[in-house]
Amino acid sequence: MIDFHQVEKHYGHFHVLKNIDLHVSEGEVVVVVGPSGSGKSTMLRCINRLETITSGGLTVDGITVNERKTDINKLRKEIGMVFQHFNLYPHKKVIDNITLAPVKVLGQSKAEAEKTAMYYLEKVGIADKAQSYPSQLSGGQQQRVAIARGLAMKPKIMLFDEPTSALDPEMVGEVLDVMRALAREGMTMVVVTHEMGFAKEVADRVIFMDQGQIVEEAAPAEFFASPKEERTRTFLSRVLSH
């Protein structure tokens, strides 16, 4: 579904991604962990071309992402994205946040899009907030709206960029619950997160990145119980010891 082949990315002199090789299969849940600045968010953002790559190959659903003739808007329809800071549209009601892309991009009728939106709001447990503005919602509720907004496009892939990092601790659970349910339903997911518990429980595979490289990848049981690389062990001892 997603294929990185020897991907390199530079920001000026800064080498952000180094020789990234990664394959994500359909229905797989891949969790990316690593210290801040390790390039994990950048790698995620390359998948829907919010960031461009300097060299190497990247295909999503068989389509080369960084190619002139690629219709990026068409590809992005298939890829939902959830951001650390939710990025809901503050001037639109919850329901209109969700229906915007289905109406404008997929050409759905307003009524049809609203029906779909209500279905997903129900699913993330906040159907009663459909007529509210984002500013009237808690962080956890806003992030669940953002997930519903992504799902309403019926994407093949969902990307999560530190979806719980900006939340108050007591709201992390409700967002992870929604993601857990989504994973169970077989959605292809790439999740950048610091939630090790979530990685352990939900991931099919855990990727550890440091300084722009994929240092180690393994099934979660193996990754957390017996990491091979020294850098992974150091990282895990720091994040798991408290």
Binding site: M81, L88, Y89, P90, H91
Partner: protein, 216 residues
């Protein structure tokens, strides 16, 4: 204060008032359209347009308004045609104000968080769709107060038409005062006519701003 000036010369005042209103409305529309286009030039990824936009703004807003008006009043004769004072003055006013409006609009667009563009684009919306549905509706809220200021400035600046015989309020007031020798009283009434335009405008802007503020 001698109110007979107002009553005796009311038709002249009124003619000047309509000249000022007409010039202001035309310049307001022109400057807004021009300013919006220049603002878009200044934020587009196309380098040439960006340079043009920046050059335009820096040149126009850093020379006196009167000089801009002179360009349109005396400039055409060098090219073999003429513009009357009203037309030249109104165009000059629109061009001058557009530079400030472009900056106000650009600042409003830039103040919308980057994540808004990313969220909309990542859902498959095109750049134009994102601009019209997500960015501009949020920018307008930030742009209204400075835009209101620019429009009020524009109305006051329209008095520059007097210098190129543009038949505005000040122009007629000048002739009234030379006839009556009651300079001070004459211009007091001029001030009232300007206030009739600017005070409702600034009040309207405030109401609009508050209404948008309340919405979300």
């Amino acid at each position: 204060m001698d109110f007979s000036i107002l009553t005796d010369y009311f038709s002249l005042y009124l003619e000047g008032f309509w000249g000022t209103v007409l010039s202001s409305v035309l310049a307001l529309i022109g400057s807004f359209v021009l300013g919006a286009i220049i603002a878009v030039f200044r934020i587009t990824p196309v380098k040439g347009l960006r340079w043009f936009g920046t050059g335009y703004v820096e040149f126009v807003r850093n020379i006196p308004l009167l000089l801009v008006v002179y360009v349109f009043y005396y400039g055409p004769s060098a090219l073999g045609f003429t513009l009357d004072g009203f037309t030249a003055g109104t165009i000059g006013l629109a061009v001058y104000t557009s530079a400030f409006i472009a900056e106000a609009i650009r600042a409003g667009i830039m103040a919308v968080p980057k994540g808004q563009m990313e969220a909309a684009r990542s859902s498959g919306l095109s750049y134009i769709q994102t601009m019209t549905n997500v960015i501009l509706p949020q920018a307008i809220k930030l742009v209204i107060p400075p835009l209101g200021n620019q429009f009020i400035n524009l109305i006051k600046n329209s008095s520059v038409l007097t210098i190129v015989a543009g038949f505005d309020l000040m122009y007629f007031a000048d002739s009234i005062s030379t006839e009556t020798y009651r300079t001070f009283d004459t211009y007091i009434f001029v001030a009232v006519f300007y206030l009739v335009l600017t005070v409702p405008l600034s009040y309207g802007v405030r109401v609009w701003e508050r209404r948008l503020q309340r919405k979300y």
